[in-house]
């Protein structure tokens, strides 16, 4: 039994010896790719963040905030385009549009 375990161990060990550097390479390659992918997503978030008019302008929005505000900003722009550029007052009946506010504050 002991002898068998010993030989098994040796077998497993030699396999692992062969696989270990390979697995490490695979993992580190995958890690680098994932890092690059995450970086590209984050930089896209940064660009989107920069386009959303916000007050104060240096407030860094979180990811979920940029998504929600980008959605609202697109609605805001579409609504302005659809109803004519000067009719921002009749924009929305129920809430104050923060982009209209920001616009008024900055102009």
């Amino acid at each position: 039994m002991e002898f068998d375990n010993g030989s098994n161990d040796f077998q497993i060990q030699s396999n692992q010896l062969n696989d270990a550097p390979l697995k490490k390479r695979i993992r580190s390659g995958a890690n680098a790719r994932e890092r690059d992918r995450t970086q590209s997503v984050n930089s896209a978030f940064d660009v989107l963040r920069a386009m959303i008019p916000i007050d104060p302008p240096d407030r860094k929005l979180s990811k979920i905030e940029t998504l929600q505000l980008a959605t609202k900003y697109i609605s805001h722009l579409s609504q302005i385009l659809n109803s004519g550029e000067d009719s921002e007052q009749a924009h929305s009946f129920y809430d104050v549009c923060i982009f209209c506010l920001t616009n008024k504050m900055n102009s």
């Binding site: 992918r37 590209s40 997503v41 896209a44 978030f45 660009v47 989107l48 386009m51 990811k63 979920i64 998504l67 929600q68 980008a70 959605t71 900003y73 697109i74 609605s75 722009l77 579409s78 302005i80 385009l81 550029e85």
Partner: protein, 240 residues
């Protein structure tokens, strides 16, 4: 946070610890070890209504009564446990992520006392509660990701349809498309709806471009200098 109330049948419900932590505490009764309920709540409650010898003490956002000697200030940093033979204080972490704590109760004259796994260091950690804490941390992370995915979906709905009907934009694609779309809308607002035609037909911009591909009838090309060898035409005024 108030003082501990005298032990008895009353339920003491002061909130002590940071939220969203689930704890399981082992209750040691004389000769009996039972696992107390695992509670997935945002509060921890300790109830020691223990006139009954079969009482199970549940840990529930309540400071343990009597028999405790503790100091607390927000945020709670430590609890000291009095009573003979009870191990030293558990440490309440300051941040949400530190969850090493577990009050030990030495009930005075009570038929039950609670004890969690104790390490020799001053940080006391119960394996059960750490696992439960991690589980609730997973739950929180899962909820966070679900909200973010919902936000992505809402954004996708506002963007023009740019994929075949069964397909969705990926996250990075939807971000980039949103950037492009917002720029487009802003440009329309600024320059009027013909901004694209104005921008892209200025000769200086387009003289180095190959002509657009026409399928079908091709209008006569006046002054067309583009040839198959790949030279660039000097002007493309005839493109339309």
């Amino acid at each position: 946070m108030s003082e501990p109330s005298p032990r008895g049948n009353e339920v003491d419900t002061r909130s002590v610890i940071q939220e969203n932590v689930t704890r399981t505490v082992y209750v040691n009764k004389p000769h009996v070890d039972t696992v107390v309920s695992t509670i997935n709540t945002s509060s921890v409650h300790y109830d020691q209504s223990s006139s009954d010898s079969t009482t199970i003490c549940t840990l529930n956002n309540v400071l343990p009564p009597m028999g405790y000697d503790y100091q607390h200030h927000p945020p709670l940093t430590s609890i000291q446990i009095g009573g003979p033979g009870v191990p030293q204080p558990s440490v309440y972490g300051m941040s949400r992520d530190e969850h090493q704590y577990s009050p030990s109760v030495a009930g005075i004259g009570s038929s039950c006392y609670m004890q969690t796994e104790v390490k020799s260091s001053s940080r006391v950690r119960s394996y059960e509660s750490e696992r439960d804490y991690k589980k609730s941390a997973c739950d929180r992370e899962r909820t966070r990701m679900r909200d973010m995915n919902k936000a992505f979906d809402l954004l996708r709905n506002r963007l023009p349809k740019s994929k075949p009907p069964g397909k969705k934009l990926s996250k990075i694609e939807s971000l980039r498309m949103a950037i492009r779309y917002i720029r487009h809308l802003q440009a329309i607002l600024e320059y009027g709806p013909e901004y694209e035609t104005k921008l892209y037909t200025v000769p200086s911009c387009t003289q180095y471009l190959p002509p657009p591909t026409y399928y079908g009838y091709q209008p006569p090309q006046y002054g067309q200098c583009w040839n198959a060898a790949g030279d660039y035409p000097p002007n493309v005024n005839n493109q339309y």
